[in-house]
Symmetry: C2
Subunit: 187 residues, 2 copies
């Protein structure tokens, strides 16, 4: 299991733990002091086994701790875990990285849908799909080299007859630049 997968399932169990009204109230109540199971049950107007079930769920995620006092079990909030969660939320972005989802699935799909025998069947109407095609075309150019318009047309022409439109789109999408009749790849 990668670090990211751990982060995801860790965060997920936090959210699952807090995505229930009774448990959210329990956390709120415990924030103002330790409580026994029976105490929570009467505050929440629930049966003790129900509360016990919720507490064991909260305990499993580390949101609460338990201590023993005779045969009563005293639960207390783990404030630190809330702080950790609060921070984690601000770094949700990191969850999208490559090993959580197949980040090339979209490109592969679009390429597969629009190419046949190494030729572009049609230029996609939607921007999102056109972008995939344009990125592919841009990759056919060497970053270190400059190309004349004729050369650009020729390379794009391998994939589609309307090289002029595609050439303009490449420039429009800032994947290529043009100056004084010369083209070069950007990024």
């Amino acid at each position: 299991m990668t670090r990211l997968e751990r982060d995801l399932s860790n965060m997920l169990s936090f959210f699952k733990a807090l995505s229930d009204e009774s448990r959210l109230k329990i956390v709120g109540i415990l924030a103002s002091g330790d409580r026994s199971v029976e105490e929570l049950a009467s505050l929440l107007e629930l049966r003790a086994p129900t509360v016990s079930h919720h507490l064991s769920r909260l305990k499993k995620t580390g949101l609460v701790h338990m201590s023993t006092e005779g045969n009563t079990h005293i639960y207390r909030l783990n404030v630190e875990s809330l702080r950790t969660l609060s921070k984690q939320i601000l770094s949700v972005e990191k969850l999208s990285a490559d090993d959580l989802v197949d980040s090339e699935a979209w490109e592969k799909k679009v390429m597969n849908d629009f190419f046949e025998d190494s030729r572009l069947k049609v230029i996609p109407a939607s921007r999102k799909k056109r972008e995939v095609i344009l990125r592919f075309l841009a990759e056919q150019f060497d970053r270190k080299q400059k190309y004349s318009e004729k050369e650009v047309n020729q390379i794009i022409g391998r994939y589609h007859e309307d090289f002029a439109t595609l050439r303009r789109e490449l420039v429009g999408a800032s994947l290529m630049k043009r100056k004084a009749g010369e083209y070069w790849r950007v990024k």
Copy 2:
């Protein structure tokens, strides 16, 4: 609906929205840029209707926004909402206030279980319950007055014959203080 109830159900819907693996991934993916429904579907290996369902749930809680581009719908993350949530988590304590739970239910229950005809049946063994009883007894004393031990015994004696134990417990629990044979109520 009170402010607290609104806060609770608001927070709850946030947590519910994020307590699903697919939705958490969607949020993660959107953090790195806008995406169409189809794009998300292929990244997550889910059907478009499923993704659409998740997005509408996220949209309802304000976690994402939608814009239209031809007939493709582009979704983007509302980063501000994550920041808000992150802050709210640190103030969960406020959820325990009086109008969310009946904060006296516990005291009432204990008093009811242990009193009969205005007399304490037995001294509860568990600390949590004894505390309720002791708080009640402390309330029988006037904060502005000092009492001799005899007077203290007499007042406690109205409720239970073992006034000596209860008197000592009151001092031990810091609900009363004693000095030079005089007692007074604290807090």
